[in-house]
Every structure is written in structure tokens, then in C-alpha cells.
């Protein structure tokens, strides 16, 4: 393990985090919130000094492989969360540091689960920072680093970082250069973000709310600035948010294909069809199911249903209605959608439509093989045969996913909440959604859990965002061996 290189990269990431905290500090400063401004200032200074120390010397050995990629990713996210929580703690707005970390991890992993009982008492600067962590975590800060840092150019080994941070079973390249690809992804991300902001401003949403809600949507996070989440905004704004939640749940390579005018290739994409198919069926089912609740007002029911389905399936977690009070079928659909999640290569979490597609395709082939044992089958997606390794990878992922969910569920159950609360709290964190059912429903929060459960849920969020493996390999002792540095003139 090339620790010097790992430390060097993390130093760069902390410097970026400091940079990204500056707007939050400015908002506090100009919004006459001296306590928050001071907290941000102290954090920025701490970040800068730590990063200066870490990047003081360029490492000689540039060896960088899969192992290092995983380690950098896992450590970077943890370190970023620990430092990102400092403003909340120093300003005293979240006096419990563990809770502050929970809030930051929830932000960075674009979960949107909160321990805050009353969001509206928070200072503007803190609310902005909370929402901005969503935007940052959505596409991934390491991908951002790849887009701008010249030292990582020219070698393919940085692809390991991209693979570790980007969600989905297969990470391919759209263009030959990795930093170009990172740039393209961020350009699409920024363009969509700006579009949403403009559309929301046209709907007379206040500027501060617009910015924060857009960050929450873009990263498929879900932190709001009002206690009612999105329920108090106009129907127009709710529809805009619904559409953009759906867009941010789409694989970003589809947008690239559209930009390149490869329309047929984009629209024939199987994952996109599965994603939209599931979403459409869910909207129809929920609308029919909740019609009686809204006195048979079809447009209203449709609006609530589509907002909530999009919010849960893309793992955003905004709410316009308390779906905790909906009929059982709708609640169950929500839980299923929680697990399914958005598309690979999007900012959303969950298992991802691509994996669902591969699982069902391979299950179908295996069943056929049981009937005709001599039959030779190939699993195909988008007309191309999948490698056995990819299929195996999906199976392994599912196995460990279930194991993590089960163990976390058992630990969280120690707190003696209802089965519904415990199960959905774990699923909600592991899939980076935010609200669950019961105590942690859209109107509730996560502050009731014990310290132990909070730690488990924090780990769940990180495991969910980084797709299990980077976090898992952190605990493999064989990875902690140091790389020998050759002396010159040997």
C-alpha cells in the first residue's frame, strides 16, 4: 500500500473541501450570523493547515493500483465527513459531535436523513452547507479532483478511483481521457443544476430555498430548509422538482449520448427502460391506491404519488405528503422502491436498475438451463454479452448487501423501536434515501437512536454510497502493508 500517495491525495481533497466551505462562510458573514461565520472560519483554517501538511512533499513512488484506489476513496469520504461536521459542532448548532457527523455523512452520501427536530432554527450558513454537501457528494469529490488535478492525468491508474467512487456494476469510459470524462460528467451535472435553479426561480421560490433545494435534488440527497420539506411550495415547483429528481436518477452517460446526438442509442438503453418502467408502474399503482385519501381528486393524487415515487426511487427523500399515513400497499411499494434505487452512473443510491436488470436476466438464463441442462446461454444487456465476472460481481454485491442490511438491522433493533422503524431506518440509510416509515417517517427524524445505532447507521450510509467494497476492504489487514521505496543508485 502506497500510503504517501494516499495521504497526498487526501490532502488535496481537504483543500478542496476548505474551498467549498468559503461560500457557506460568506453567507453566514453577510447574513449577520457571526457564530456560524466563526465556526466556518476555524474549520477552513484547520482544513488548510492539515492539507498543507499532507501535500507538503510530492510522493516519489507513484504506484497506484486498485487497492490504493479503494483505500483513498474510503478514507477520503470518512475524513471529509469528520472535518465537514466541525462547523455544526463549533457553532453549537448541533452540540453532539456524533450527531454532527451523522448529519454531515447523511449530507455527503446524499442520504438526507436528519437528526434535527426543527430545521428552521438553524442558521442560513449551516443550512447552505448541509445542502451543499449533497451536491458535492452526488457526483463525488474524487471525480471532481480527477477533473481538475493535473497530477492525475496521463495514467490510467486513476481509473481505480473513478471505479471506487462511481456507482454501478460496470464503469466504462465515454472518451479516451479520464479527466475529460470527469469534466463532461461535472459539466452535465452543473448544467442540469443551473436549469433547475432557473425553473424554480421562475416559480417564485425564494433564492435561498431554490439553491438549497436544487442542491438536494441534484445530489438526490433530500435535505430541505423547511420542517415541511417540500409540502409548502407551489404545485409548479413541486412538479419541477419531480421532473429533476427523475432526471438526476438517470445514468449520466445517457445525457452524454443525447449531447452527441446518438438519440437511438440513448433511448434504446435497456437500463433506462427498466428505470422508467418501474417508476411509471409505481406511479400508476400508488395514484390509484391513494385516490380515496385525496377525495378522488386525480390531479392532486397524481402529483403527490409521482413526487413521492420519484423522491424515494431516486433515493432523494423529499416529501410533499406524509406517506406514512397512506394505505399499506403504497407504503409497501415505497419500501420496495427504496431498495431498487436509481440508475447506475447517476447520483442516486440503492441497488440500481442496472443490477436488477442483470440479476433478472441471469436468473432467467439459469432457470432455462435447469430445464435444458445442455443449453448454452449468454446474458446480454444492450445487445452485448456480459462477462461472467460482471454477473458474478453483481451476485457478490447482493449477497454482501443483504448481509450488511441484516447485521445492521439486528444491532439497531437493540434500541427497541418497532420492527417497521428499525427495518426502514437501516434500508433508508443503506440506500441513501432519508426518510423511512414509523418513527423515521417523513415527519420524524433519527435523533431517537442510541449512540451505537447512530454509528451503525453512519457506516451504513457510507457503505451504501461507496457501494460496499471500498469500505469493506478498509478492514482487510493485508491491505495495510507499506510499499517499499527503492533507493536510487541500486
Amino acid at each position: 500500500m502506497n500510503f504517501k500517495m494516499v495521504v497526498y491525495l487526501i490532502g488535496h481533497i481537504l483543500r478542496l473541501e476548505a474551498l467549498f466551505m468559503v461560500p457557506a462562510m460568506a453567507i453566514s458573514f453577510f447574513g449577520k450570523e457571526p457564530v456560524s461565520a466563526r465556526a466556518f472560519f476555524i474549520t477552513i483554517m484547520v482544513l488548510l493547515s492539515v492539507s498543507l501538511f499532507a501535500t507538503f512533499r510530492k510522493p516519489k513512488s507513484r504506484g497506484f493500483y486498485t487497492r490504493e484506489g479503494f483505500l483513498v476513496t474510503a478514507l477520503a469520504w470518512m475524513v471529509m465527513s469528520l472535518f465537514g461536521a466541525l462547523p455544526f459542532f463549533i457553532s453549537g448548532e448541533i452540540p453532539n459531535y456524533l450527531f454532527a457527523v451523522f448529519e454531515t455523512v447523511s449530507g455527503l452520501t446524499t442520504t438526507g436523513a436528519s437528526i434535527l427536530k426543527d430545521v428552521e432554527v438553524m442558521s442560513k450558513g449551516m443550512l447552505y452547507w448541509r445542502s451543499f454537501t449533497h451536491w458535492l457528494g452526488g457526483m463525488g469529490i474524487l471525480v471532481f479532483l480527477l477533473a481538475i488535478l493535473p497530477m492525475t492525468q496521463g495514467s490510467g491508474s486513476t481509473l481505480h478511483i473513478m471505479r471506487a467512487e462511481s456507482p454501478g456494476p460496470e464503469v466504462g469510459k465515454l472518451v479516451p481521457r479520464l479527466h475529460q470524462m470527469a469534466k463532461i460528467l461535472y459539466l452535465i451535472y452543473c448544467a442540469l443544476t443551473v436549469m433547475q435553479m432557473v425553473l424554480l426561480l421562475l416559480g417564485d421560490m425564494p433564492l435561498f430555498d431554490t439553491v438549497c433545494i436544487t442542491f438536494g435534488t441534484a445530489g438526490t440527497g433530500g435535505f430541505g430548509v423547511l420542517n415541511s420539506s417540500c409540502a409548502d411550495y407551489s404545485p409548479y415547483c413541486q412538479i419541477v422538482i419531480t421532473v429533476f429528481m427523475m432526471l438526476f436518477g438517470v445514468n449520466f452517460s445517457i445525457f452524454y449520448l443525447l449531447l452527441m446526438r446518438e438519440f437511438s442509442q440513448a433511448l434504446l438503453n435497456q437500463e433506462l427502460r427498466v428505470y422508467l418502467g418501474i417508476m411509471l408502474s409505481a406511479v400508476i399503482l400508488v395514484t390509484v391506491n391513494i385516490l380515496p385519501v385525496y377525495r378522488s381528486n386525480l390531479p392532486e393524487a397524481l402529483r403527490y404519488a409521482s413526487f413521492q415515487v420519484a423522491s424515494i426511487m431516486t433515493t432523494t427523500g423529499f416529501a410533499t405528503a406524509d406517506f406514512n399515513l397512506w394505505p399499506q400497499l403504497s407504503r409497501s411499494i415505497m419500501v420496495v422502491l427504496m431498495v431498487l434505487g436509481a440508475s447506475a452512473g447517476s447520483t442516486g443510491g440503492g441497488i440500481k436498475s442496472a443490477r436488477v436488470l442483470i440479476l433478472f436476466q441471469s436468473a432467467k438464463q439459469s432457470l432455462r438451463k435447469m430445464l435444458n441442462p445442455r443449453e448454452v446461454n449468454v446474458v446480454k444487456v444492450d445487445g452485448k454479452a456480459l462477462d461472467d465476472e460482471v454477473i458474478e460481481g453483481v451476485h457478490v454485491y447482493m449477497t454482501i448487501y443483504c448481509a450488511v442490511a441484516a447485521v445492521s438491522f439486528l444491532i439497531v433493533s437493540l434500541d427497541n423501536f418497532s420492527l417497521e422503524t428499525n427495518l426502514t431506518a437501516v434500508l433508508s440509510c443503506l440506500n441513501n434515501i432519508g426518510p423511512g416509515l414509523g418513527e423515521v417517517g417523513p415527519t420524524g427524524n433519527f435523533s431517537g437512536f442510541s449512540a451505537g445505532s447512530t454509528v451503525v447507521l453512519i457506516l451504513n450510509m457510507l457503505i451504501g454510497r461507496l457501494e460496499i467494497f471500498p469500505m469493506l476492504f478498509l478492514f482487510a489487514p493485508s491491505n495495510w502493508k507499506r510499499t517499499r521505496v527503492l533507493r536510487p543508485n541500486v
Partner: protein, 467 residues
């Protein structure tokens, strides 16, 4: 530039590595997923899986909009087909690897008919290189410039040799011909030396010299060795065939040891004057009975690196005057160096040099592009030859007046066939070709790239004078 490389084998990978490092956007096509995966994770490139000669795959790789297609698969026919399709699809230049000697004879004809920009034959290039080394066995490496009038040769300094401990300023007194040391390799370090540099034993020095002075250089530096009269070639590959043909034509006796009966028959038919031995060239008793103890040179050309190394080390042990080793896996060269394996030939690197030169020349349309490119010290030093055109800055100024970028040396100037080893008073004139030596950390595309920018202003002197 956007470059598509078809075939991710030895040559393909070496090319991908070099071209990607020089900042080009490279897409690699191959039908083997495993090698593509390797390229994807070690180099910053895009890969496309499939048959490179199929239209669908070429479209997927973006051949329509790319600038250059290089076909380097193992099959000549596929390479040619690739280039024909690429030509039809877009406006890319095309380079094909064609190595079948039967096709090689009709190279020129093919090139015209198919609209190919360039054809490469790594085996032919390697054979040429080995032949030139055998001409002057004192040198480990010879790279020629200015249509063969100038060479950069590699020499290893022996303990207590005439150059041990000498400063470069004194070189002329010893060599008695005008030469210039343009690079020195010491341990793992490479230096572009100046006049005060002091040489040590075991240094490998790279010397620029006019070709006609090479014999004198060898004599005065005490490097004289006998002319090679017979060569033992182990392995009957295509390189062996080309090399043997060249050697026989120049009157050197050739003995080829080859294991496979059918190949022996072929060689015997093609090279009636060579003596072809059907035996295992790695067996000690075979080598001894075929006279390895008395031969002037051993060239190991089997397809297996390990065998080549083993036989070369044995030949060195028997103190054969000249041993040339073909090695494909060049990444381990640092281990072999100084272990008796000094004279190493790698067809893929020779080929990639040629193509890199072509690519750099493609990049600037304004003229003054690279005429020759050679890489020394495992690619850590580059020697390039440029033509000075109207666009070249500082024409007519002496070298003392011109500020060069660090670690760059003008090692030779060819003025209409007259070879000038430059000093401070030398000038660069229009239509000169200039040979530049540089540590290869940044690509140099035109002659103007070697000058320090912006041009050093003489303003400072003027202003002080005014005051």
C-alpha cells in the same frame, strides 16, 4: 490528436503507452478482452472490444473523426483491411504493420494502391539495426541522422580506459576528431553534460560523430576490435532471415540454429549461402559443437526472451566479442544492464520510435518538423533531427546568443552535407538540419520548441544605459 490503434499486442501496447503519454487521445481496439482490460487500467485510454476490421467496431471507436489509424495486429491481411476501411470511413492517415517478407517485397506497390501513409515492418527495422551494430562492434547502439552522415553511438567506459576520469573539455585531444558527448548514463541517472563534466568508469556515453570519423574515433579511444567475419544466429525468425540476407550480401559468414524442421527447410531455400542447423539453439552442447567458442558474434533471436537472455549470458561468459540480444519485455532492462546484456534490440520500441516521429511530424503543418527521432537510455533521452525553415527563430545568430531550454543540447548541424559539430560561435542557417538531444520529459515537435520563451529581451541593457 485522436488516434485509433488496432491490435493491443506488444507493438500496439508500446505505441499506446508512448502516444498517450505525449498527450494524444488514444482508442484501442482488440478482440481479446483481457489485454484491453490491462491497457484500460494502466494507461489513460479508451478501449473498444471487437474485430478492428469490422465497420461497426471502427465506427464505435470513432474512426470517422480521428486523425490517425494504426493497424498493428498480428495478421498483415487484417491490418491492410483495417486501413482500407478506415480510409473509406474518414480522412485519417493510416499506418499498417506488414511483416510477411513476401508482402514486404511489394511494399511500395501496395502503399500506393491502398493510400497508406506508412508501412511498418518491425522485423525489417530490427534486422537493419542489428546489421549496423555488427558493422562497428565497439558500439552498443548506433542511431543515424542526416541521411546516415551523422551517428549517435553508445560506448561503455572501461576501468583505466583512456577516458576514465577525463573532463569533456579534453575529449578532442584524445579522440583527435571533432565529436560531442550528448548524454551520459551513470547508474540510474542520466546527464546532459557540459564541458566541465568529468567521466568515470562504467559510464555509458552517447557520442555524436560524423559517420566517416567513426573508425578514427574507435582507434584513438582504444576501442579497436576485429571486424566481424562470422555470426552465429540463434533462432530462425523473420529477423534472422533479413539479417542473414544483409550479412551474406556484405560477405559475412552466417550460421543459423533453428529448432523447427519446416522453418529450417524454408531458410535453407531462401538463404542458400547460409549454413542452417536444425537443433535446439539453447542446448550447451549444440552451441559448443557449432563453434560458439570461435565465432566473432552471437545474435539471439528466438521468440522467447528467457532463452535469448540465457544464451547471451553464456556467450558473454565465453567472451564472444559481440553479443546482441533481442528482448521483447523491455521493462526489465534496468536489471540486465551491467550484467553483460548491454546490446539489446527491441523491435517494438524501434517501430514505436518511427511512428512517434510520424505523429509529431503530422502535428505541425508549418514545416520544420521532425525528420528523424531516436530514443536513447530506454526512452529517457530523445535525439531529434529538424529542418530549419523560414519560421525558425534566431536564424544566423551564434549559439552563445541563443537561450535554450534546460537539458537541451544542439549536438550537430548538417549544412548541405557538411557536418558541423557546433561550438559557441556556430550559427543555425536556413535549410540546415539540426540534431537536438533532450531528456524526454516533454515532447518537442518543432525546432522552435527548444528555445527558451519568451525571447530574451535586450531591454535591460538599454534601460541601464539610459540611466
Amino acid at each position: 490528436m485522436k488516434i485509433v490503434i488496432v491490435g493491443d499486442g506488444k507493438v500496439g501496447f508500446a505505441l499506446t503507452q508512448q502516444l498517450s503519454k505525449e498527450g494524444h487521445d488514444v482508442v484501442v481496439i482488440d478482440s481479446n478482452k483481457n489485454v484491453l482490460q490491462e491497457s484500460l487500467v494502466t494507461l489513460d485510454v479508451m478501449v473498444v472490444h471487437g474485430n478492428g476490421a469490422s465497420l461497426r467496431v471502427q465506427k464505435e471507436a470513432g474512426v470517422e473523426s480521428c486523425d490517425l489509424v494504426i493497424a498493428a495486429t498480428s495478421a498483415d491481411e487484417i491490418n491492410l483491411l483495417c486501413c482500407i476501411i478506415a480510409r473509406k470511413l474518414g480522412h485519417a492517415h493510416t499506418i499498417a504493420r506488414v511483416r510477411n517478407p513476401e508482402y514486404a517485397e511489394q511494399l511500395f506497390f501496395l502503399k500506393e494502391e491502398l493510400g497508406l501513409s506508412m508501412m511498418i515492418n518491425p522485423e525489417r527495422t530490427a534486422a537493419n539495426e542489428i546489421f549496423r551494430l555488427l558493422q562497428f562492434p565497439s558500439f552498443l547502439k548506433r542511431d543515424s541522422f542526416a541521411k546516415g552522415k551523422v551517428e549517435i553511438v553508445e560506448i561503455v567506459l572501461k576501468e583505466n580506459g583512456v577516458l576514465d576520469g577525463k573532463q569533456l573539455l579534453d575529449l578532442y585531444k584524445i579522440a583527435k576528431v571533432r565529436v560531442l558527448v550528448c548524454a551520459v548514463e551513470r547508474g540510474s541517472q542520466v546527464y546532459i553534460p557540459d564541458g566541465n563534466f568529468r567521466l568515470q568508469k562504467d559510464d555509458k556515453i552517447y557520442v555524436t560523430a560524423p559517420t566517416r570519423d567513426l573508425a578514427a574515433l574507435i582507434k584513438h579511444m582504444g576501442l579497436y576490435t576485429h571486424r566481424i567475419k562470422d555470426v552465429l544466429i540463434v533462432g530462425g525468425s523473420n529477423i534472422a532471415y533479413y539479417l542473414a540476407a544483409d550479412l551474406i550480401a556484405s560477405g559475412v559468414a552466417v550460421k543459423i540454429i533453428e529448432n523447427k524442421h519446416s522453418r529450417c527447410m524454408e531458410l535453407a531455400e531462401l538463404l542458400p549461402k547460409a549454413s542452417v542447423i536444425e537443433a535446439d539453439g539453447c542446448s550447451k552442447s549444440v552451441l559448443l559443437s557449432e563453434g560458439i567458442e570461435s565465432t566473432d558474434a552471437v545474435v539471439t533471436l528466438t521468440n522467447i526472451d528467457e532463452e535469448n537472455l540465457l544464451v547471451s549470458m553464456y556467450a558473454n561468459f565465453l567472451q564472444v566479442p559481440k553479443v546482441v540480444t533481442k528482448i521483447n519485455r523491455t521493462e526489465y532492462n534496468e536489471v540486465f544492464r551491467g550484467k553483460g546484456i548491454d546490446c539489446v534490440i527491441s523491435p517494438k520500441l524501434l517501430t514505436s520510435n518511427d511512428i512517434v516521429r510520424y505523429v509529431r511530424a503530422m502535428q505541425n503543418t508549418s514545416g520544420g518538423s521532425v525528420i528523424t527521432l531516436h530514443r536513447l537510455v530506454d526512452g529517457r533521452v530523445e535525439a531529434l533531427e529538424f529542418l530549419a525553415t523560414e519560421d525558425t527563430r534566431y536564424l544566423g545568430q551564434t549559439l552563445l546568443q541563443i537561450q535554450l531550454k534546460p537539458n537541451i543540447l544542439i549536438s550537430c548541424i548538417n549544412r548541405g552535407g557538411k557536418i558541423i559539430i557546433p561550438n559557441g560561435e556556430t550559427t543555425i542557417e536556413l535549410r540546415d538540419t539540426v540534431i537536438v538531444v533532450t531528456t524526454a520529459d516533454r515532447p518537442i515537435n518543432t525546432l522552435n520548441d527548444i528555445f527558451e520563451e519568451p525571447p530574451v529581451p535586450s531591454m535591460t541593457y538599454d534601460s541601464t544605459n539610459c540611466i
